[in-house]
Structures are given as structure tokens and as C-alpha cells.
Symmetry: C2
Amino acid sequence: MVKTKVDSEELILDAARKVFTRKGMTGARMQEIADEAGINKALLHYYFRNKKQLFDAIFDDVFPRFIPALIQILNSDNSIEEKLSHFVSHYIDEFSHKAYIPVFILNEIHQNPERLASMSMAIEGMKTSRFMVQISEGIETGLYHPIKPAHLLSNLISLSVFPLISQPLLTRVFQMDDKEYMQFLEEKKKLIPELILESIKRN
Amino acid sequence: MVKTKVDSEELILDAARKVFTRKGMTGARMQEIADEAGINKALLHYYFRNKKQLFDAIFDDVFPRFIPALIQILNSDNSIEEKLSHFVSHYIDEFSHKAYIPVFILNEIHQNPERLASMSMAIEGMKTSRFMVQISEGIETGLYHPIKPAHLLSNLISLSVFPLISQPLLTRVFQMDDKEYMQFLEEKKKLIPELILESIKRN
DNA sequence: ATTCAGTTTAACCATTTGGTTAAATGTAAG
DNA sequence: CTTACATTTAACCAAATGGTTAAACTGAAT
């Protein structure tokens, strides 16, 4: 085996993910990434020719990294109610201490919309998930009001993501400490599925 | 009068707002701001000693710029239903072609949470608005379920902002063209108030 | 023992970028 | 006319930054 090639590349990617997702493409420094990885700039450029190439490697990986788990939830054998609950809980747990990740994604997409290419495939699975089929069935059988998939999914994700990315604002305005904010998120795990269900259920 | 001092300063601020809100603090270039303002770098530094000072001037102004209109809606004499409708419509109209503004705010706050100081005062007015009083009254009279203000406001803003800042994603995933996306937003103007009302109304 | 990729060191380079300076010009007001 | 600030021009500076290079070293594989 060739020494530890894989390890170093992985080390660099981990460091780059950390720095890029926190500081963004323009705010990140190659030296900082090298330091974070515990190596030197020469080796960094030995593995990744330039900043853009390294950034692309990171960006194209950030999104696909957490989407499969969500799709799996939507494709399970559970009921709609359980899926909603699992989805929101998983989402909140995943990002409650990493809200900079969704912010990073949103920001970089707005800076450079072409980057979307690497993401849309990962999302495709949500549109075509068993969950969406169950919803369609519920609509056909008259259990639910008709609702466009785009509205349902955007509502679900809006309500899940925004409380996370607006944490600094929320905690300040409503004077929550860390514990109260975590409590707030726990309440969201119940309230969001209820809200979504109420919005589609026929009375 | 001293020539056009006010005009130039205003020119610079307008240009800086444009560049900063699109590229962010780290992505913006002083030269680009000067170009955008139609002046030269020397004059730019003549008015604003350095980049940080100029950025602060912009950032501290971006948020307070659109909050008062929203607070006015929440403090009007209208019914809760009308306020919800006006609020969402105004929000969507304001940012449907400027989604980079909320993205900018979210990103810069995450980069530097201390900046929140200039914003929290502007938001205070939402917490204490007549709208929130009306909600409290509705809860007391048994018309509405009890709901914490933090949840109600976060739901309202989540549902309004996220469809805007996730436009690139949404339009790609659901293959909407510009016209279809605008139609989608129009539907949101009805659906969001309905959703919020359903969530608090007692059956 | 040799080979060869991985790694370090350290100097170096070119460009970008924020910021400064000085001199000349414009322009409105006293 | 003179004063005083506004503005331009154009050169300049220093630091930061992305990226390169060459030489030496390491350590596993042949």
C-alpha cells in the first residue's frame, strides 16, 4: 500500500468541509484549511490543485450527505403520521448544532446557481418517495384535500429548516437561552407534523 | 450648500448595498462598489474610511429598511385574517425578486452573530404588535388554541421566507419556469394564511 | 538497497485587494 | 477672488492570498 494517501485526502476533505461550510467559498482561506487538516499548504495543493477544485469537491458532497437518510424515512413502511414525525425529528436533530450547513448551502446556491446540478438528483428521491404516493392515495380516497407536492414539501421543509437557520434571531428576540431553544425545537417536533396533517386532512 | 455631498454618499450607499447584499462581506470588492457607484476608489475611501465601516453602515440599515412596513400591517385595524393575508403578500412581493436579501442577512448573522444587535430592536415591534394582542385575546376567549408567540411567528415567517430563498432549488426540482414559480408564490399568498389560521382555530 | 509516492520545509512568486497619497481640477458660497 | 470642500487622476504601498518550486526526508514495497 502507498502509505496513507487515503487518510490524508480524507483529512483534507474533513478540514475543508469544516472551513468552507462555516466561512463560505470567499471567506475560507487555503492556509486555514491546511492548518485545520494538520498539514501544510504544499501538500494541500498536492492533493487539490486549487481552491475551486477543492470547494467543488466539498460542495458536491455536502447535500448528498444527509439527503439519503431523509429519503429512507419517507420510503419506509410507516404511516404518514410517523413519517412526518420522523422526518422533522431527524432533520432537527441533524442540524440543531450545525445550522451553518443549510445556511452555507443556501448562500452558495445564490452566489452560483449552477452548483444546483449536484443537488437536484438527491432531491428527486423526495418527489418520488413512498410518502408522496401515500399522500396521493389519501387525496384520491378523499381522506385529504388536494395539495400540490411542491406546496406540501416546501411547507414541510420551510417549517423544519427555518427555526434552525434563524436560531440567532429567534433566541435573541424571544430571549431564550440554549436550554429554552432546545425545548423550543422539541416542541417543533410535535407541532410541525400536526400542522402539516391538519392542513391536508379533510374535516 | 456644499455641492452634492449628500448625493454622493447616497450613491455610494446604494452601490454598496447592491454589491454587499449580492456578494456578501467577504465576496464584495471595494473596486466593484466604486464602479457600481460611478466614482473612484479614492472618493469611496474619502467617505468611508474602510470596508468594515461601509459594510456596517449597510448591514445596520438592511433589516430596519423593510421591517416597519410589516409592523404597520400587524398594527393596523384589520382582522387577524386580513393581517395574515397582507403580511404574507407584502413579504412575498417585497422579496420575490430580491431573495438574495434574506439570504444575505442569514449568512452574515451566522458569520458574525454580534451583528444581531442592530436587528433585534426592529423585530421587537412584531412581538408587541396589535396582531399578537389579537391572538392573545382570541386564545383567552377560547376562539384559538393556546400557542406560544415564538411558534406562531416562526411558523409565519418560515412559510413566507423559505419559498423565496429556496427558489433556485424549488424551480429546479419541480421544473417550474419563472411564470410557474410566480404562480406558485401567488398560491402561497392564500395557502399560508389558511394554514396558520387552521393551526390556531378551535374546531 | 533501491524505488517511489507521500510529506515537510521554506523560500518564493504573481495577483488581488484594501487602503493611501499628492497633485490637479471643479464648483459652490462668502 | 478666495476659500473650502468635492472629485478625479494616477501612482503607489503593504498585506493577504492563492499557488509554485526545489530540495530534503520518510517509510513502506519491491
